[in-house]
């Protein structure tokens, strides 16, 4: 479960006291992420499917962030924000694909489709929006965390 690569960041303060394989010694008992992951999945599913765009974007961002968070917490990744950004890119790609199934990928047709409230295009745009928010958010938080503390290694 440990990825050992040369570009590992310097060990975090607790790494010395606590081995990463916490579960070898005894199970972890507490995590706030599962609830958030489940909520993110639910909200994004309802939002995207029922075409409620604020829910779609909010849910997807929540889902991306919580997946990054839980993966980081479980020790599968050392840089949650990089994973969040990557998932954001995946969302952008998926959203663009959704739009492209309906209209040619150019500014005018997409704007027209949005204006006449084409359901699939709007859903695609909301997924793209969620992806963009994730990427930008990940970049900003990562930049904030860099240098000041190493809780969130970039």
């Amino acid at each position: 479960m440990d990825e050992t690569t040369s570009d590992d960041p310097p060990p975090r303060p607790w790494d010395e006291e606590e081995p990463r394989e916490i579960e070898e010694d005894g199970p972890t008992r507490v995590s706030a992420w599962p609830l958030v992951v489940a909520l993110g999945l639910t909200v994004s599913e309802v939002g995207v499917f029922m075409g409620v765009y604020p829910l779609a974007v909010g849910g997807l961002v929540l889902f991306v962030a919580s997946v990054a968070g839980i993966t980081h917490e479980a020790g599968y990744t050392r840089r949650p924000w990089r994973l969040a950004g990557a998932l954001g890119v995946v969302l952008v790609a998926a959203g663009v694909w959704m739009v492209s199934t309906q209209v040619p990928l150019a500014v005018d047709p997409v704007v027209t489709a949005v204006e006449r409230a084409d359901g699939i295009v709007l859903r695609g745009v909301s997924v793209v929006g969620a992806g963009v928010v994730s990427v930008v958010g990940a970049a900003i938080v990562s930049a904030m965390g860099d240098g000041t503390n190493d809780t969130f290694p970039a």
Binding site: V30, L35, F49, G69, E73, V114, A117, A130
Partner: protein
């Protein structure tokens, strides 16, 4: 409009990222405090084992401990059980007289749909998950589930799923135009594809979430049973409950993703003009095939673990080992495989090719054997045994008795000629209610009583438990036997009224039988109220269990691994050594090794 929405979304997204950042900071700090080392867990005993958990409600929202999650599953399932039970009592009240008396057809249909889906997906599967989460790691000597966080995610998908499935009932009074679904639990197309009601979409999404949850749980159990067993537990002495959960998980793994896909296809048909289940497209029958390819294994997903529970508990109060333990194991596996080859026996009257239909009949008859084998094993276990009629034992015996009726009626239905006559009548409803209520719910109740001392550290009120059993047993048999007879009279399923022409069916008898089964249903209902009172009151005020062996299992050499764990917890709480106080795997089950040999030697 769209621009406003988009602006709103961007704002919401930014807010969410900020929140997520804060949460992760907090969580990161918390989960890396030394939980794993002996320092945190070692010193804690029974009841104090939660010392490292946050206090109050936060503990329940953040727990990834299999025992806590098991309790959450149990509470969730019981809430759903009462929802589904309330729905059916309303339906039975309506059916007490032939005409429309207390509700309209639309509301009856909504209750019917909600009752079926709630009982199968929100009560049946979760109550089994409650037992398996709490006890599988204890029974196989594991520290916890293989993936504790995924375990928690699987649970937390369920409450939103339930809210979505029930959504129509909450939104209907608001006048949003979102009503409860009226699709019945089978969601047959074209009916389900053509009901223009967002409540159906929400229900399908909710079902999809519960399916995702079940699949995650199944993967977790398979991984746990394969990889997390204690050193002294292998395939030869794996307990029967773990065997059935393993088989069930394999069935879930193959069946539920298919349901998820079919649900998405249905959603696409409803919202995006695809034609998977349209007459001019994939045909409505395709839905039935996909649904029952999931749906029949689902029957065994629901019934195998209760069979495992009974196989585990029954011997404890018979004073004898389970007769033919390995027969039960192999027949469980056989049911698991064969259950994928019988789905079209739900569709004998759809006009499919008679040759194919005959094959499904053949496999359906074959699958009766492994189930019958188990019945004989349970009976022979009790034969000449020293029976102790405690509440768990009574529920196990009731389970067997109901299974004999429910199972044999099923064998008749597997035969095409009989099925063509009885299809879509109350006979079918009676048959599967003997299974789902008479078996699954009974085994669940028995297990709740059996393990109540471990989970709560207290004892339930035995008199109330006996009342609960007898009310349930009598009520179940009154209600569902009347169903069987109604089926013979030709009463069709799913109707809110039954005002026949007297030439078609004897209305007087049908009315009487409906009234009998309404009375029976209310007897069951009273029994469950007694039970709810017993559980809640005993949890708070019941006498504390002093001895780790409340069932006197040591006398018979039947002190199971889960009670050994309980004993270690109690010893630790009384100031025992620290090292035994770790969870689950910390118990060295080699304490006192198995004098009781399983089979032939006993007989």
């Amino acid at each position: 409009m769209a621009v406003e929405q988009l602006a709103l979304t961007v704002l919401m997204g930014i807010l969410l990222v900020a929140v997520a950042g804060l949460v992760s900071r907090m969580v990161d700090w918390r989960s890396y405090t030394p939980l794993g080392g002996a320092s945190a867990i070692g010193g804690s005993g029974y009841g104090g084992g939660h010392a490292e958990k946050p206090a109050g409600i936060v503990r329940w929202f953040t727990t990834v401990d299999h025992k806590d999650i098991g309790i959450l599953y149990g509470i969730y399932a019981l809430v759903a059980f009462f929802w589904g039970g309330a729905a059916v009592l309303l339906m039975r009240a309506e059916l007490a007289a032939p005409g429309f008396d207390i509700m309209e057809a639309a509301f009856y249909n909504s209750l019917l749909t909600s009752h079926g889906i709630t009982m199968l997906f929100l009560f049946g599967t979760p109550i089994i998950a409650a037992f398996s989460n709490y006890f599988i790691p204890l029974l196989i000597g594991a520290d916890d589930m293989a993936f504790p966080r995924i375990n928690a995610i699987a649970f937390w998908l369920l409450p939103p799923g339930a809210i979505l499935i029930w959504a129509g009932f909450f939104t209907a009074p608001l006048g949003l135009g979102i009503d409860p679904a009226q699709t019945s639990w089978t969601m047959y197309t074209p009916l389900s594809a053509e009901q223009a009601n967002a409540g159906v979409d929400l229900m399908l999404l909710g079902l999809h979430l519960t399916g995702v949850s079940a699949t995650m749980g199944a993967i977790n159990f398979i991984a746990t049973i394969f990889t997390e067993r204690g050193d002294d537990v292998n395939w030869a002495n794996l307990d029967i409950f773990s065997w059935t959960i393993l088989t069930q998980s394999a069935l879930i793994l193959f069946a539920f993703p298919l349901l998820g896909s079919a649900l998405i296809m249905l959603l696409l048909d409803r919202n995006f003009a695809t034609t998977f289940f349209a007459v001019e497209g994939g045909s409505p029958i395709l839905w039935q095939h996909l649904f029952w390819f999931f749906g029949h294994p689902e029957v065994y997903i629901l019934v195998l673990p209760p069979m495992g529970l009974v196989s585990w508990i029954l011997p404890k109060f018979s004073g004898r080992k389970l007769f033919g333990f390995k027969f039960v194991v192999y027949s469980t596996l056989a049911i698991g495989v064969l259950s994928f080859g019988v789905w079209a026996h739900h569709m004998f009257s759809t006009g499919m090719d008679p040759r194919i239909r005959a094959s499904f009949m053949a496999v359906s008859l074959a699958i009766a054997i492994p189930s019958a084998v188990k019945t004989f094993n349970w009976i022979t276990t009790m034969w000449n045994g020293r029976l102790r009629l405690t509440a768990p034992m009574l529920f196990c015996i009731g389970f067997i008795s109901n299974f004999v009726i429910g199972g044999i009626t099923g064998v008749f239905l597997a035969a095409i000629p009989v099925d063509l006559v009885l299809h879509d009548t109350y006979y079918v409803v009676g048959h599967f209610h003997y299974i789902v209520m008479g078996m699954i719910a009974f085994a669940g109740m028995g297990a709740l009583y059996y393990w109540f001392p471990i989970v709560t550290g207290r004892m339930y009120q035995r008199t109330l438990a006996k009342w609960h059993f007898w009310l349930s047993m009598i009520g179940t048999n009154i209600t569902f036997f009347a169903f069987l007879v109604l089926g013979y009279l030709g009463m069709p399923r799913r109707y809110a009224t039954y005002q026949f022409d007297g030439a078609i069916a004897p209305l007087a008898q049908v009315t009487t039988l409906h009234q009998i089964s309404t009375v029976g249903a209310f007897i069951i209902g009273i029994g469950q109220v007694v039970w709810a009172w017993n559980m809640v009151q005993s949890w708070y005020e019941g006498p504390e269990v002093e001895d780790a062996d409340p069932w006197n299992l040591k006398d018979d050499g039947m002190f199971g691994r889960e009670f050994q764990w309980f004993e270690a917890q109690k010893l630790a709480a009384d100031g025992g050594e620290e090292e035994v106080a770790t969870d689950g795997g910390g118990v060295r089950p080699d304490g006192g090794y198995r004098r009781a040999v399983r089979r032939v030697d006993d007989e």
